[in-house]
């Protein structure tokens, strides 16, 4: 859709989109009927369990499974030997699911059993003998980059990494334009600071779970909680050497993902066990396994250098980012490097990112992967420069903000983006000028995320009674079935309640990319709108047949086919239900389809405003007030948009204040549970206020932008700026746990 059609978007009067209907899966979820990953059973089902390495780095000299196999009630034991050769792009995934020559982190799977009960499975694990040769390990990103650091892989680096670096450095990324040295020379103040963030976990409340069943004929079914069941199918089929058609994957209800369920861990293991045992195998991770062996996000070490004039104009921005992504290639450092300065319209900008491997679990995506740490570092330095020149931090951001026509720090020129509008909304909000008490501080930060569209396929079936069955292929994590029903109802002109949206299995609908990149309301929504339009065209065709007029003399208005145009004649409008009732007589079933690679996802920006209070004697931080401002393009279901804003903010609060992976000297995870991996609890928080800004995305028929991820980008920085103001000292290491805050306060007092 060309840009000049945007005005129509802004004035369009929606009937159902923008309202807050009850979600269609709601009653099941408040009554306990909804079935999640661990809620399925099958006749003859076995219990699958994984044996995990207690060592951070060890060569596996041998695994003796004989005693376990001999135990009564054990039906299968597998190791990496039970998997064959796989394509290059699947090797890391396979080795992560089942260690091959080396155990690369505490919790790395080395073998698995299927048995008739939990008790037998537990005993069997103890009977598996693994001969480990312990190797030195490395956990910290900066330590892993040292020339003499223990090496995980001999040849994982690609052509981007210069010679002479540690073999743990596996990728180098660089972005930017202009010349930063020229920019720094034009500044009145150039500030360089270093930052660290610890690894955090998505912390979804539902542990990974699946039920696999494979018959001797090689046909298999898999029930699993995942953000992408087509991804699970393709990956597992590749890992097990199966045809994709032989594996049907059904996505269960999913108890949170936030990026952590965009890959496989136990699923191929369950299938391999089921194949060997000839019976269904159910596997669920314990919470401890989730922490030790699923995919937390990277920890990071970042240097930032920014030049500013005394009037608050940023003359240059530079950052070097080092992320460890666990034991395999693939930290999201390139997204950190791309997004770090995306909120700023800069003439001179350069970012460099290093992807580093360590003896930690392979990172998985976590909500705007890579961006929150980069924003923390950059927004902290911008804040410090504002303080240096005694400038209003929002005005400085307004002065330098990216807007339509700005060249983004990662290359392209922005089309219509909402950052200036979002900044203005924050500046005008009463929160920004509210008074603060002693030991309190206010922080502000900007965040950006790209958003993503991707491959999408939906099918919309008009039932004979005039109701609609809508099949989508993107698992619903936060209410997307409601949004799909709204968009289909909007197009078709039928009541919301007449539509039922389901998440179809992999055999029933074409390929869909994973629910990630904040893409579902955008991409599945776009596909739903087009599928509805496809159905409308067919409905109009049937009406034309009935009336005996040309198809293009029929228009669709508010649920009715109507004759239109000079020669159309005069007929009573036909409702969708009336046309559906005679479908058999007019050509058979009526359905609309869309198969699309949905490009044109619009970027989303947010500003977070937060007040905190610091106890100067203990370093404890209390969040007093929090307001999120974010561009949603068009909020289809505002309640769930607000929910994304609030949830992202609170995950960010956790990351900023208390959540961290803590490893001992032995390389073992010290806090693999919700007791000591401290996610925010209800009593830690105030209400999270939200302001939805709507600057329509020209790439979507209703102007929708993804909203799920941007909301976790600003909070780390906003809270750090707030705590730094309250404590009177700059905090540069996340999380800002009480011992770190108190130490900084004391050091400041002595300095």
């Amino acid at each position: 859709m060309p840009l000049d059609e945007q005005k129509d978007l802004e004035v369009r009067d929606f009937r159902i989109v923008g309202k807050r209907p009850l979600r269609p899966d709601g009653v099941d979820k408040v009554t306990g009927r909804a079935r999640f990953g661990a809620d399925m059973t099958a006749p003859g089902m076995l219990v699958g369990r994984v044996l995990r390495s207690p060592h951070a780095h060890a060569r596996i000299r041998g695994i003796d499974t004989g005693k376990a196999e001999a135990l009564a009630g054990v039906k299968a034991v597998i190791t990496s030997a039970d998997f064959g050769e796989v394509d290059d792009d699947l090797v890391d995934i396979l080795v992560n699911c089942m260690a091959h020559e080396k155990a690369l982190y505490d919790g790395h799977a080395v073998a698995a059993v299927a048995a008739i009960s939990h008790a037998v499975a537990r005993k069997a694990l103890k009977l598996i003998e693994v001969d480990y040769e312990l190797l030195p390990h490395v956990m910290d990103v900066d330590a892993a980059m040292q020339a003499d650091a223990p090496v995980l892989h001999e040849d994982a680096a690609d052509e981007s990494v210069p010679d002479g670096m540690s073999k743990n450095v596996v990728r180098r990324h660089e972005f930017g334009h202009g010349d930063v040295e020229t920019g720094f020379a034009a500044a009145d103040k150039v500030l360089e600071r270093s930052f660290k963030t610890e690894a955090s976990h998505q912390g979804y409340i539902e542990p990974h779970a699946c039920l696999a069943s494979m018959g001797p004929d090689g046909q298999a079914d898999l029930w699993v909680c995942t953000q992408g069941h087509y991804m699970v199918r393709n990956t597992c089929a590749g890992l097990l050497g199966m045809d994709a058609s032989q594996l049907r994957v059904t996505a269960s209800e999913i108890g949170g993902g936030f990026g952590g369920k965009t890959t496989v861990f136990i699923e191929p293991v369950a299938l391999a066990l089921s194949r060997k045992a000839g019976r269904p195998v159910k596997m669920t991770m314990s919470r401890e396994e989730v922490f030790r062996a699923s995919g937390p996000t990277s920890s990071s070490s970042i240097d930032v250098k920014i030049g500013m004039t005394s009037e608050g104009k940023i003359t240059a921005g530079w950052a070097e980012l080092r992320y460890q992504g666990g034991a395999f290639v693939g930290s999201p450092v390139e997204f950190g490097a791309m997004s770090a300065f995306a909120a700023y319209d800069l003439e001179n900008v350069q970012t460099i990112g290093w992807d580093v491997v360590t003896n930690r679990p392979k990172q998985a995506a976590y909500r705007a992967p890579g961006a929150p740490m980069a924003a923390f570092a950059v927004e902290s330095v911008v804040d410090e420069l504002c303080k240096h020149f005694d400038l209003d931090p929002l005005q400085v951001r307004m002065k330098n903000a990216s807007s339509e026509g700005s060249k983004a720090s990662y290359g392209p020129t922005f089309s219509k983006i909402g950052l200036p509008t979002v900044l203005k909304a924050a500046k005008d909000h009463p929160h920004y000028s509210a008074p603060l008490g002693p030991n309190q501080g206010r922080g502000v930060a900007v965040g950006f995320w790209f958003n993503f569209g991707g491959e999408t396929c939906v099918s919309l079936n008009v039932n004979v009674d005039g109701t609609i069955g809508l099949s989508v292929g993107t698992p619903d994590i936060g209410g997307s079935r409601a949004s799909m029903c709204q968009m289909a109802a909007e197009e078709l002109g039928v009541p919301y309640e007449k539509i039922r949206t389901i998440v179809a299995d992999t055999a029933s609908l074409g390929y869909n990319d994973v629910t990630d990149g904040s893409r579902v309301t955008f991409a599945s929504g776009l596909a739903t709108i087009h599928a509805a339009r496809d159905a409308i065209q067919k409905l109009c065709g049937r009406a034309a047949q009935i009336w005996g007029i040309d198809e293009d003399a029929v228009i669709w208005e508010e649920g009715y086919a109507k004759p239109a145009g000079e020669n159309a004649g005069s007929f009573e409008p036909l409702s969708l239900a009336e046309i559906a009732a005679t479908a058999a007589n007019t050509g058979g079933p009526i359905a609309g389809h869309t198969e699309v690679n949905a490009d044109g996802a619009g970027q989303s920006f947010a500003v977070h405003l937060v007040d905190t209070e610091v106890d100067p004697e203990t370093g404890a931080v209390k969040v007093l007030r929090y307001t999120v401002f974010q561009d949603a393009g068009k909020a289809v279901h505002p309640s769930y948009v607000e929910g994304q804003f609030q949830g992202g903010a609170v995950q960010g609060i956790g990351w900023a204040l208390n959540e961290e992976y803590i490893y001992g000297e032995d390389g073992r995870l010290q806090n693999p549970g919700f007791l000591d991996y401290r996610v925010p609890v209800a009593s830690d928080l105030p209400m999270i206020d939200t302001v939805i800004v709507e600057v329509p995305n020209p790439g979507h028929p209703y102007g929708v932008r993804g909203v799920g991820e941007t909301s976790i980008v600003p909070p780390l920085a906003a809270i750090a700026n707030s705590v730094s103001a309250a404590a009177g000292v700059r905090l540069t290491h996340l999380p800002m746990s009480p011992p770190r805050v108190l130490k900084a306060i004391k050091a400041n007092g002595q300095g």
Binding site: D158, E159, S160, R172, H173, E174, F175, G176, Q202, G257, F258, G259, G260, T262, E334, F335, M338, Q350, I352, A365, Y366, R367, A368, P369, Y410, G411, P412, T413, F414, S415, W449, F450, N451, F452, G453, G454, E455, D516, G517, S518, R519, N597, D599, G600, A601, G699, G706, E709
Partner: protein, 81 residues
């Protein structure tokens, strides 16, 4: 001819050039020509890229038309959480 901007770390594969010119009418042709003209870009192209055309980001759409005055920017393959 279309102008293609590449990201910084790829310049090491193009002899320091950050803006490349190739003859192409669509994304597929552009990627093919780049691989021919700059063989050291091949591994990255094989791993996958996104392409921004006039500010709109495409991931796989080969036949997206390119015009001589289009702003074309190569990006790492985008995904999310």
């Amino acid at each position: 001819m279309v102008q293609v901007q590449i990201w910084g770390s790829l310049k090491a594969m193009t002899g320091g050039e950050g803006e490349l010119q190739v003859e192409a009418k669509n994304i597929r042709e552009m990627l093919d020509r780049l691989a021919e003209a700059y063989p050291r870009l091949k591994p990255q192209l094989a791993r996958g890229v996104s392409v921004s055309v006039d500010g709109k980001i495409y991931r796989d759409a080969w036949f997206t038309p390119l015009k001589p005055d289009s702003e074309i920017v190569l990006l790492p393959r985008l995904s999310g959480g």
